[in-house]
């Protein structure tokens, strides 16, 4: 993990401009380790208090030693000029905290192409759905990388499986809600299968579905 070092070489105006670009790009995500933000709302520094996503997520405390850095502000600048899906994939490949960012980006890229082909361009990968997925995974780094499929609306379903018996699926809706299903052997009657379904928001999925009880979804 790199720490942002070269931002100090910029003028105050440069910073604001660059950071505004980052914020515009990052807005739908839950930026785990924000170390840059528009002046007036956020500040940079050890243990700075950062509002990572004003719509769905709680405030977070950021430690500079744990900060993701943009060692090349030019690259960050270029992010804001690209179309949103490309920007999301770029984020996954360069800044996403869990180690599987590039693989996740590759799968989302493939899914976006498959959706276009499957529905002859009438449906596209839901960027909002993908953003909530990315945000959730970045917030819950101990989870294994899920496999992904899509719905006919272009929204994403994440799957965690172990063997044939255990599975958790989560459908990330574009408005931040989430439908989930978990199926596993009944802990008291192994020959029976337990099934739990529910609706929550993507930021509360871990707690609502009690994912900590499913050890096999963690790395």
């Amino acid at each position: 993990m790199k720490v942002l070092t070269n931002i100090s070489s910029l003028t105050r105006g440069d910073k604001i401009e660059a950071l505004a670009g980052v914020q515009a790009f990052i807005e739908p995500f839950d930026l785990q380790h924000a170390c840059v933000a528009p002046v007036g709302q956020f500040r940079i520094g050890p243990a700075a208090r950062v509002v990572t996503n004003p719509f769905n997520y709680r405030e977070r405390r950021v430690d500079m030693a744990d900060a993701v850095a943009f060692s090349n502000v030019g690259e960050v600048e270029s992010v804001k000029t690209r179309e949103p899906l490309a920007a999301l994939l770029d984020y996954l490949e360069k800044f996403f905290v869990p180690g599987y960012g590039p693989q996740l980006a590759s799968r989302l890229r493939q899914l976006a192409e498959d959706i276009k082909g499957d529905y002859e361009g009438a449906v596209e990968l839901s960027l909002a759905s993908a953003s909530y997925l990315v945000s959730f995974l970045e917030k819950n780094r101990r989870l294994k990388r899920p496999t992904l499929s899509a719905t006919p609306a272009g929204t994403i379903i994440a799957h965690w499986r172990e063997g044939q018996e255990k599975m958790v699926s989560a459908h990330f809706l574009p408005d931040g809600r989430l439908n989930f299903v978990a199926a596993f052997p009944n802990p008291r009657h192994a020959q029976q299968r337990a099934r739990v379904t529910g609706t929550t928001t993507s930021d509360a999925f871990f707690e609502t579905a009690r994912l900590e009880t499913y050890g096999w979804v963690s790395q």
């Binding site: 498959d114 499957d118 499929s149 719905t151 006919p152 609306a153 499986r161 439908n179 299903v181």
Partner: protein, 143 residues
């Protein structure tokens, strides 16, 4: 005859697009969700036993021919045993939902085995789709 119920012991085959299948080859429940635009009235499928062939593999080969134009790499066919599926959804859905598997084509139609899975819509559509995905008994590559 159009509207004819499929027998409980027969199979409906759902053509599953690659985007509804995860990278491990598992069919997600998105494959059993209705399209919104244009809104589908039922889930399209094919009546396996209506297709010519001495065994399942030959009938699937015929299905590949029927779906020739839309087939893409990584697409799959999912088989559902009609009676088992109806019972699984009825037993596990909160509203005792009863699905109907009906023939949607006449003998002279080009896609003469076309069938429909009716009754999946409603506020619990996604839950029903998950139960249908759980009820898959076998899958085949469509390519």
């Amino acid at each position: 005859m159009r509207g004819q119920p499929l027998p409980d012991d027969d199979h409906a085959v759902r053509y599953c697009k690659r985007s509804t299948i995860d990278e491990d080859g598992f069919i997600g429940h998105g494959a059993f969700m209705l399209r919104d635009n244009p809104r589908e009235e039922y889930l399209s499928a094919n009546w396996l036993e209506k297709l010519p062939g001495g065994d399942e593999a030959e009938r699937i080969a015929e299905l590949c021919r029927i779906h020739l134009l839309e087939r893409k790499p990584r697409d799959r066919f999912a088989l559902l045993r009609v009676g088992d599926t109806v019972e699984a959804v009825r037993a596990r859905s909160e509203a005792d939902k009863v699905l109907r598997f009906l023939r949607e084509a006449a003998d002279e139609d080009p896609d003469y085995s076309h069938a429909g899975i009716h009754g999946t819509d409603g506020p619990d559509e996604e839950d029903t789709a998950q139960l249908l995905a759980d009820a898959i008994c076998r899958t085949y590559s469509a390519s």
